[in-house]
Subunit: 388 residues, 2 copies
């Protein structure tokens, strides 16, 4: 699975694996993909530096990347306290009542509260970058479009490619104009922040809009067959996030959450503003249902919603309040049904890709005169083309 982009990055397979867990990211890079570590949970730049040191020691010299969450625009001088003050009391009591109804205990005095959202603030992201650029980053990805211009320049000076997620061709064009190197076409079926255009339509649309800039297909990719589909659409690689959540190397901090992911079907996710204020695909839970209920107050806009719910999400996770317990995840959650190591998952991806390409070769080679034009057809029997 080598494209021009994977060759330029010096990786064996054009598989970009996003994950919040250093052990997963390192295993993806060791397996021949590009592990991309999510930085959003690191409020302490020192902790990020330590984990990147660990990555350097455990990737066997293979390249890896970092994913940050930075808005391209800046709101100078706005503090977390300023944003907190904009949250209506009615929303605070809605959160309090929802957790009380489900019997979720308060945090103890010493517990860390709400890391989930502070990583979204620009000063936190910049401190992350100061720590990160001491390391040999091959790729810097940003979940909210292009990072600020000075960050793009800094990455390029460091020899780091810059990638930005886009949910529409219009956004992708804007990202390309900002000087980034790779567009991640994030389809509707993807986990996390996502738009309404499905990967099958979005990928070629973005390839047309920004080519020859390389595009990664994201959303709905969890098998080698799906990788082949993404690359058939013109992508130079695939961006996979959800699939790693149930690997042995992943530490979700909750057995109950892992069990929910393994049990969930493709119809058990929802695109909801309940986590961050922007539509993000996640497990459908009592939490998303409460926020999406038209009789409730509804989610606040980003970044208010994220700040509002940060502590609540920490409590739900810590006390494993099963009905409320969720996570961003894509529709491929329906195929994530067993816990395996990253290498085993990766081996399946390469085998599935080879199988899909071989099948397409047979289908292409068979082109020619029909076998029995106009002849009546009988009841369908088993078909040898079926991949199973």
């Amino acid at each position: 699975m080598q494209t021009e982009l994977s060759q330029r990055l010096g990786i064996e397979h054009a598989v970009f694996g996003f994950t919040p867990f250093p052990a997963v990211a390192a295993a993806i890079s060791r397996a021949g993909g590009l592990g991309v570590l999510g930085a959003v949970r690191y409020t302490d730049p020192g902790a990020l530096a330590r984990d990147l040191d660990w990555m350097d020691a455990h990737t066997g010299g293979r390249p890896y990347g970092l994913d940050v969450v930075m808005p391209a625009g800046r709101a100078e001088g706005v503090t977390e306290a300023d944003v907190e003050a904009m949250i209506p009391d009615g929303h605070r009591s809605f959160v309090r009542d929802l957790l009380a109804r489900h019997g979720v205990p308060e945090l103890a005095a010493g517990d860390r509260r709400g890391w989930r959202i502070t990583g979204w603030l620009e000063d936190v992201a910049r401190a992350q970058l100061d720590a990160a650029f001491d390391h040999p980053l091959a790729l810097l990805a940003n979940a909210l479009g292009p990072p600020p211009a000075d960050v793009v320049q800094r990455a390029h000076a460091h020899g780091t490619l810059v990638a930005a997620l886009a949910g529409s061709a219009r956004h992708a064009t804007r990202h390309a104009d900002a000087g980034i190197d790779v567009v991640v076409a994030q389809g509707y079926e993807a986990g996390g922040h996502t738009g309404e255009i499905a990967t099958m339509v979005l990928t070629p649309e973005i390839v047309r809009a920004v080519g020859p800039l390389p595009v990664l297909a994201a959303g709905g990719i969890g098998s080698g067959e799906q990788i082949a589909a993404g690359l058939a659409l013109g992508a130079q690689g695939v961006w996979i996030g959800s699939l790693w959540l149930t690997t042995e190397e992943a530490d979700l901090g909750s057995q109950a959450l892992t069990a929910k992911l393994l049990a969930a079907g493709s119809g058990d996710t929802v695109r909801s503003r309940a986590l961050s204020g922007k539509p993000a695909r996640q497990l459908r839970t009592a939490w998303t249902e409460a926020w999406d209920d038209p009789s409730g107050p509804g989610p606040l806009p980003m970044p208010l919603q994220g700040l509002l719910v940060a502590e609540a999400l920490t409590r739900i996770q810590k006390y494993e309040a099963a009905p409320l317990l969720g996570t961003p995840v894509g529709q491929i959650v329906g195929s994530m049904n067993s816990r395996r190591g990253v290498q085993a998952v990766f081996d399946d991806l390469t085998r599935g890709f080879d199988r899909a390409v071989a099948r397409l070769d047979r289908i292409a080679a068979r082109t020619g005169a029909p076998a029995a034009a106009g002849a009546p057809v009988g009841r369908a029997g088993p078909a040898a083309d079926s991949p199973d």
Copy 2:
């Protein structure tokens, strides 16, 4: 593009083209695919018989199919008048006011009113079948799951394969149990009635659920690259509907509607219950916005909504009330930007498919040691893998 299924049907390419227009269906069959004529607009079985006679004379002996809209369950003795009586007055006045607000004239005394929905009633569909089975149908497809058991038996006795649309693996399994021969996996991005699971995820899920029964990928397929993607996912063929709406052979009966389709982007569709009462993807218009507005009465359930709006839709179309004018269409509408003949469109499909397979072959062949493991990477330049 030949699979076991296309070989069994005696067609050159595993491309199934759904269309309400005999001229389009015949041209698809002549081009080597399987034209599938939508029967829903034929309230007069005699008119359907005449059009099928025309198809027989204009497909050069190539196979074709018919698509009906039949519920699997029967509501014995329920007439159109019974259903009409269930429509609340408030909904009738909402329709009246909406059309008045947009200045849409009343129909004249002699005008045909509201053919769009009567084809959904079982007795109409059965009369259509009586006419259709006088013709050499290769495929009978049903948009609402498996047709009633006696219809499946009748099709099989006639040498006709039976296909049913499914939006989830659970529905597909139920369809397979009803003895059908082909499942059409209708993804979220498809035009018309559709579920929430995207084609990228739905297709392999249904292949796993019903294999070795053949599956067609539907939704998001409008190019050869997208055909390659659908087949990579394990499908035995693709089901394409939207793409033909802007061909020269199609007669939408409204220049304004054709112009809207040619101008629309992938983000200009919406999954709405405004046409039939069940979620169907269609152009986003003042009509869909009015029905989806939470301050309005909202759509009625199927089949009430279809009966309620039939005459209104006829008026909107006849008088080309541009803001209200819409049609079921999928997200690929964004790539339908020029009016061409069916054969030219088909040639593009086969060329794009060959190009995608050749590109995948190159990507697969390149697998091996990385070119420059661990080396720093520079600013991205043009990439030769880009399909454009």
